[in-house]
């Protein structure tokens, strides 16, 4: 099994969710994060104090999937999250040793 972690632009969440549902991935966990990268932030000014805000709001999506569909998941996320503008985000795929559904105790792919 793989854990697919995608950092995306916040307003793309719904499209990504729909694309994943379409390939049969029905679960995910989403975190509000701040991203730092090539994309330029903005300047905030408070009575003359200027702060450059380089950390931009992003969403981090975590999806556990069976190893064989990890590539497919990466593919649909890429397609649905892309705007072509800088700051579209990244996808990282990492290994999972075990998975478990708390309610039933089912493990590994049954747990997803």
């Amino acid at each position: 099994m793989k854990l697919v972690v995608a950092i995306i632009k916040p307003f793309k969440l719904d499209e990504v969710r729909q694309a994943l549902t379409a390939i049969g991935v029905h679960g995910m966990t989403v975190t509000e994060v701040k991203g730092y990268g090539r994309q330029k932030g903005h300047t905030e000014i408070y009575r003359g104090a200027e702060y450059v805000v380089n950390f931009l709001p992003k969403l981090r999506i975590e999806i556990a999937v069976a190893s064989d569909i990890a590539d497919k998941a990466v593919g649909v996320i890429t397609a649905s999250a892309r705007t072509g503008q800088i700051g579209d985000g990244k996808i990282f795929v990492t290994p999972i040793d075990h998975a478990l559904r708390i309610r039933t105790g089912e493990t590994d792919s049954d747990a997803l």
Binding site: F11, D14, H42, T43, E44, I45, Y46
Partner: protein, 433 residues
């Protein structure tokens, strides 16, 4: 019809704060009454509180987090800009001189206004106070319009549009209805601004929403409010402030003011209960947003009628307000597919319209000196219809032209990117954390 209306007007004894009037004059000092002055200063403070922080909170509590400050900025800017224009020429054009179409510039920058001058429309308080009180009405009317274009209008365009709208929509209407203009002469009843404030702002908002188009994500994304508790606070302050809005429109600390306030309060209560009840029966839950929307609908709707009807009429009018405005915000808006972000038309436009008509229905001689339909004076209702038509057409037409004109100088709407990022950052360079 004009003849008929004119006759009806002659029958309807003008009453209340606002009546057919001559130019302000230096009055004998003894006419100014300290008690009325005390009340009217407070009423003025209450109406100012309706805009800041009242309306600023009510509106910003209904937008997304990224637009909270920008929404507040619109109310703030309306206060700052319109106040100065009011003093510069607005008051004079509205309330000095009684031509049918427009007042005079005799009192520009308050020229000639002394410690003891009065305006014939409010003989027991200083003219300066009458001017200030009326200023707060101009402010809130302009600030109301902003709700329709929340989340997407460029701040610079908003400022230009506000100034233009104030000059070409608010000033004429205020003069026509309250300042001795042709609707005033005709006997249109509008105690505290069903036409001048609510219908005109609602209509202006509707047109602006149509011209600017829908928000990105409207109908597809979750545009739900960030922090409705702000809207509840705002409603509380609006409600309390409305005692000054409708009560102060009596111009004195007397029973007439009290009766107007009771009707006002009851309409808010009935509106809140009605909207909540409809939601409960049709959607299984009464929402807080629904209750406050109903309250504000009741308040807006009773406004033109408040000083003319009996207190308990407030309950009836509030129930009607809750139902009609609910329908406007849910059915009408979807039917005509406009994105009036904060339902300025649905709540204030429809409320002001409905209340102006109902004033013609329920007007009670014992309260406001004018009889309505139910007291056997159907002509009054016709006059009210006429007032509504004039206000709607004028506000809609002029608002449209002004938006097109402003759009020649600066794009009305922010860029798609800025809209997604939020107006707080893009227009003001700051944000909630």
């Amino acid at each position: 019809m004009a003849g008929l209306l004119r006759r009806a007007a002659a029958m309807a004894a003008p009453i209340g704060l606002v009546s057919i009037m001559a130019s302000p004059a230096k009055a004998a000092g003894s006419e100014i009454n300290a008690a009325d002055t005390a009340w009217m200063i407070v009423a003025t403070a209450l109406v100012l509180m309706m805009t800041i922080p009242g309306l600023a909170l009510f509106y910003s509590g209904m937008v997304r987090k990224k637009n909270v400050l920008a929404t507040m900025a619109q109310s703030l800017a309306a206060v700052a800009l319109i106040s100065i224009l009011w003093v510069a020429f607005g008051y004079s054009l509205c309330f000095v001189g009684d031509g049918p179409w427009i007042g005079t510039l005799d009192r520009w920058f308050l020229a000639g206004m002394t410690m003891d001058s009065i305006n014939p429309a409010a003989k027991t308080i200083p003219e300066a106070l009458f001017m200030l009180y009326q200023m707060t009405f101009a402010i809130i009317t302009v600030a109301l319009v902003a709700g329709s274009v929340a989340d997407r209008m460029r701040f610079s365009a908003y400022l230009l549009f506000s100034v233009a709208w104030f000059i070409f929509v608010y000033i004429p209407l205020a003069h026509w209805v309250w300042g001795g203009g042709f609707l005033n002469s005709m006997g249109v009843l509008d105690f505290a601004g069903g036409l001048v404030v609510h219908l005109s702002a609602g209509t202006g908002g509707l047109v602006a929403a149509k011209v600017m188009g829908r928000r990105h994500g409207y109908g597809t994304e979750n545009l739900s409010p960030f922090d409705l508790s702000l809207a509840v606070m705002g409603t509380g302050l609006l409600w309390v402030g409305w005692f000054g809005f409708n009560g102060g429109s009596a111009g004195a600390a007397n029973s007439h003011a009290v009766m107007a306030i009771i009707a006002t309060h009851l309409a808010a209560c009935a509106g809140a209960l009605t909207w909540g009840a409809i939601e409960w029966s049709t959607r299984r839950k009464p929402s807080v947003l629904g209750m406050i929307s109903g309250a504000v609908a009741g308040l807006g709707t009773i406004t033109p009628a408040s000083g003319f009807v009996a207190p308990w009429h407030g309950i009836v009018i509030g129930i009607i307000a809750g139902a009609v405005c609910y329908w406007a915000c849910t059915w009408l808006k979807h039917r005509f597919n406009y994105d009036d972000s904060l339902d300025v038309f649905g709540v204030h436009g429809i409320g002001g319209l409905t209340g102006t008509l109902l004033a013609g229905v329920f007007a009670t001689s014992a309260i406001g000196g004018t009889a309505g339909l139910f007291e056997g004076h159907p002509q009054q209702l016709l006059i009210q219809v006429y007032g509504v038509a004039v206000t709607f057409v004028w506000s809609a037409g002029v608002s449209f032209i002004l938006l097109k004109l402003v759009g020649l100088f600066v794009p009305l709407r922010v860029s798609r990117e800025h809209e997604l990022e939020g107006l707080d950052i893009s227009q003001h360079g700051e944000a909630l954390q």
